[in-house]
């Protein structure tokens, strides 16, 4: 009962701030993280980077996860990503030349608001742009990433390697500019909005039902720390995948029509989720259920 009241309070706050033009991400963040602190008082803050394995009641999953981390299968995909990252383009440059600091320790700032294009930019977008600018024609540049698994997985492997260069860095993104704030509001709205035949909002499963099961044996993770592990390899999929693919499958699990890979709404959702995980260390790539 207490939990329901708390969720109602959280929803009420969101509804309350929605009509106001000025959003306050900082206080949203405080509330969001306090929600999980109250819900799982025994879980240390940094542990949320380990996804559902940090939550009480899922110890069996954690045991299996710890064993699979001895020699995680994503290493195969990760080394393909590494190879792609290091292979020079036709003009002699490589992916590292497109990024500050050679791509090291910068992934904690993604996704970010780009004033030039007035859009939110994700790591995937920057990597694709980098390849395009240097005249490369990888299949993931032209393919429909929602439908074609091969090119999408290749992009996921590359992104996974990019994130692995920043492992352990704490998430810190800037949503202070008016454009970013608008995108943040959009993502927040998506997060709290119910959808699909099952009529679930993201928040229903990943906040008030976190740590419980969805339709049988699908354990639900806590929203806090979601983005720190992606691109990740799910046991069910057996390959590295992008976070947008996860959002799409999450949508179809509640029987809502998924959006396209790389669509703006997913970028905004990723921005909101990442901002809510501010301060957590990056662990991508990782194994997930």
């Amino acid at each position: 009962m207490k939990k329901i009241l708390m969720l109602l309070a959280a929803l009420g706050v969101v509804a309350g701030t929605m009509p106001a033009a000025m959003a306050d991400p900082a206080s949203d963040l405080k509330q969001f993280q306090a929600f999980f602190k109250n819900k799982f008082p025994t879980v240390a803050f940094d542990e949320y980077s380990n996804g559902l394995y940090a939550l009480p009641g899922l110890e069996e999953y954690r045991e299996q996860w710890t064993i699979s981390n001895e020699f995680p299968p994503y290493e195969l995909g990760l080394s393909l990503g590494k190879k792609l990252w290091e292979t020079p383009f036709k003009n002699g440059k490589n992916f590292a030349n497109c990024f500050k600091n050679g791509g090291k320790n910068i992934a904690q700032g993604y996704p970010y608001w780009d004033e030039g294009s007035q859009k939110i930019r994700t790591a995937e977008m920057d990597l694709m742009d980098c390849a395009k600018k240097n005249g490369e024609n990888f299949s993931f540049l032209t393919a429909d990433l929602s439908k074609e698994q091969g090119p999408r997985v290749q992009l996921a492997q590359l992104t996974a390697y990019f994130y692995s260069l920043s492992q352990g860095q704490r998430v810190k993104i800037d949503v202070s500019s008016p454009g970013a704030l608008k995108a943040y509001e959009d993502g927040k709205k998506y997060w709290w909005q119910r959808r699909g035949q099952l009529n679930f909002a993201c928040a229903n499963c990943h906040m008030d039902l976190a740590g419980k099961n969805f339709g049988g044996n699908q354990p639900l993770s806590a929203a806090l720390g979601h983005t720190t592990a992606w691109p990740a390899q799910r046991l069910e999929w057996g390959r590295l995948e992008t976070i947008h693919q996860r959002y799409a499958t999450c949508n179809s699990q509640v029987r809502a029509k998924p959006f396209k890979h790389g669509s703006e709404i997913y970028n905004h959702l990723q921005l909101y989720e990442t901002y809510m995980s501010s301060g957590l260390p990056l662990t991508a790539p990782a194994m997930r259920n």
Partner: protein, 106 residues
Amino acid sequence: MADIQTKIRTKTQGDVTDVLVLVDHPMETGQRPDPKDKDKKVPAHYIQKLTFSVNGKEVVSSDLGPAVSKDPLVGIKLKGAKPGDKIQVNWSDNTGKSGSGEATVG
């Protein structure tokens, strides 16, 4: 085949060394329908033989088959391996492809 990865990892505890091998292999059974053409089957492609050798001497020979999962992880426990010993893994599949990996006991 150079483009199929074979990764090895070793871990020594006491006098027992754990050797784990991860092979990037599709392990197709030959039973799965082709997603593009429902009348056809994806041709079988799986590892048949996987051997471990220490310093050139074969210690384990295993017969794998289509029942083994994609990207198989195979492990053995070695007794009395010394630091510096070279562990080699060789595998061959039903299409005649083969691969190998090497690691040194640390």
